[in-house]
């Protein structure tokens, strides 16, 4: 599933949208360099995905609209309007 989404989103970044259910900026991690921000995105088609969030965490809003963007991970979202 994630591979499909990533493939489609890479070609047409506006294709996948959703709302940000919650997020956290991680400062201690066993798995990768910190800090990084993760969030659960509720996609418009009813699925929830854990995604990397790009840009300034201060711009994130609970239940705010987000869209898939090219980013460091296969699934990276950013607030709508973020360049």
């Amino acid at each position: 599933m994630s591979e499909d989404l990533a493939g489609r989103g890479a070609d047409r970044p506006e294709f996948v949208g959703g709302r940000l259910y919650t997020w956290s900026t991680v400062y201690v991690s066993a798995s990768r360099p910190v800090p990084y921000t993760l969030g659960y995105v509720d996609l418009d088609d009813g699925l929830r995905v854990l995604a990397r969030l790009d840009g300034d965490p201060g711009a994130l809003r609970m239940d705010g609209p987000v869209r898939l963007v090219p980013g460091p991970d296969e699934l990276t979202f950013a607030p709508l309007g973020h360049q």
Partner: protein, 377 residues
């Protein structure tokens, strides 16, 4: 089924110790407290997650206990409680009269930081760590509930105040709300003091039949319910403030024991992070949904309140060596319900509940959850 003996070592960091070295003494002490000998043990269940192959047998070899069936149990944070669940069933089926339960873990082997999770999981590959999962719950909680960040800190303050009374707690220094809020960030909005410490520990329990309990004639607790659940996949939106696996486990346990949450005197619940305690107040039915923050603010879950939650200090202060925690929680119930809990004794405690859950798997709220209800025998 009864727990007739219990023992644990003070949780902390023992980087030079082996798993056998951590646990062997607790087996001896638990047998002694039950008035039994190593030759009385008919079966063993050993909960751990990071001990490697045959951890239970390594511990028993150090004690010259052999031949009897030994089963090693990995269920992440629920490993020790899952071991107890299987002991409960073995005695309940009438197959055994004396079963030894061990919970043991050595997290200091990883140095420090977050628990290493299994990278086969897609969320783990994307950067999920346990503090992040609970931090995301916390952010949602603060958004939906009538609660503030200081309420999360109050949980840690209570845990440390209780831990200060427990010689077996890893963190025994009291902290203030300001100190908790000012500690370094781990996963925003959780600070260091809102997260359980990494450490090592071991606990042992002696589970016996009613026949043996009567023969021993010593203080014991009756296990009135032993419930184990696994998570259910849901790929759609899930209410992160309502942990279904914990709510279901608790409901089944109350039904099996024939009691309700209002009957409990003491609860040991899975406060791996301070937000978890507030959420589990609701899931365990200690308050109506939405009222968790009110409980901690009013002091209803400390000594003198409606129910004392985590008198041991909980995972936040006592410590959380993953596979050991479930057994250590029931050891605490043993001491509380037999009046042996010392400075942290809940006066007149008759009924207690222990709850552990854990494991990060994409699509599940948690991988495993065990709930035990015990009463003074």
């Amino acid at each position: 089924m009864y727990v007739a003996g219990a023992a644990m070592i003070p949780m902390g960091r023992y980087p030079q110790a082996s798993y056998a070295g951590l646990a062997a003494g607790t087996v001896r002490d638990a047998l002694r407290s039950a008035g039994l000998d190593r030759g009385d043990v008919q079966e063993v269940f050993c909960g751990h997650s990071f001990g490697g192959m045959l951890t239970g047998q390594r511990i028993l070899a150090a004690l010259d206990i052999g031949s009897v069936p030994v089963t090693n149990v990995d269920n992440a944070c629920s490993g020790g409680a899952t071991a107890l669940h299987h002991a409960f069933r073995a005695v309940g089926r009438g197959e055994r009269d004396v079963v030894l339960v061990i919970g043991v873990e050595k997290l200091s082997q990883f140095g420090g930081g977050t628990l290493p999770l299994v990278t086969e999981d897609r969320e783990v590959r994307r950067g999920m760590v346990m503090p992040a999962l609970y931090a995301m719950r916390a952010r949602r909680y603060l958004h939906e509930r009538d609660a503030e960040l200081a309420d999360l800190a109050r949980v840690s303050v209570k845990a440390r105040a209780h831990g200060a009374l427990n010689p077996a707690a890893q963190l025994r220094k009291p902290v203030t709300v300001d100190e908790v809020l000012g500690a370094r960030p781990i996963a925003d909005p959780l600070t260091l003091f809102m997260c359980c410490p990494t450490g090592d520990g071991a606990a042992s329990l002696i589970v016996v039949s009613d026949r043996i309990r009567r023969r021993l004639g010593r203080p014991a607790i009756r296990i009135a319910a032993s419930v184990l659940h696994s998570g259910q996949v849901d790929l759609g939106p899930r209410d992160m403030l309502w942990p279904q696996i914990s709510a279901d486990s608790a409901a089944d346990a109350y039904a099996a024991a024939g009691i309700g949450p209002g009957d409990l005197d003491v609860v040991e619940l899975h406060d791996a992070f301070s937000i978890a305690e507030l959420i589990y107040y609701e899931a365990l039915g200690l308050c109506p949904p939405g009222d968790g923050a009110k409980l901690i603010r009013l002091g209803e879950t400390t000594f003198g309140g409606q129910v004392v939650v985590n008198p041991s200090g909980g995972l936040l202060a006592k410590g959380h060596p993953v596979g050991a925690s479930g057994a250590a929680q029931v050891a605490e119930l043993f001491w509380q319900l037999t009046g042996q809990a010392g400075a942290r004794q809940v006066p007149g405690a008759r009924l207690g509940l222990a709850h552990v859950t854990g494991g990060g798997i994409a699509g599940l709220d948690h991988g495993a959850c065990a709930v035990h209800i015990a009463e003074a025998a």
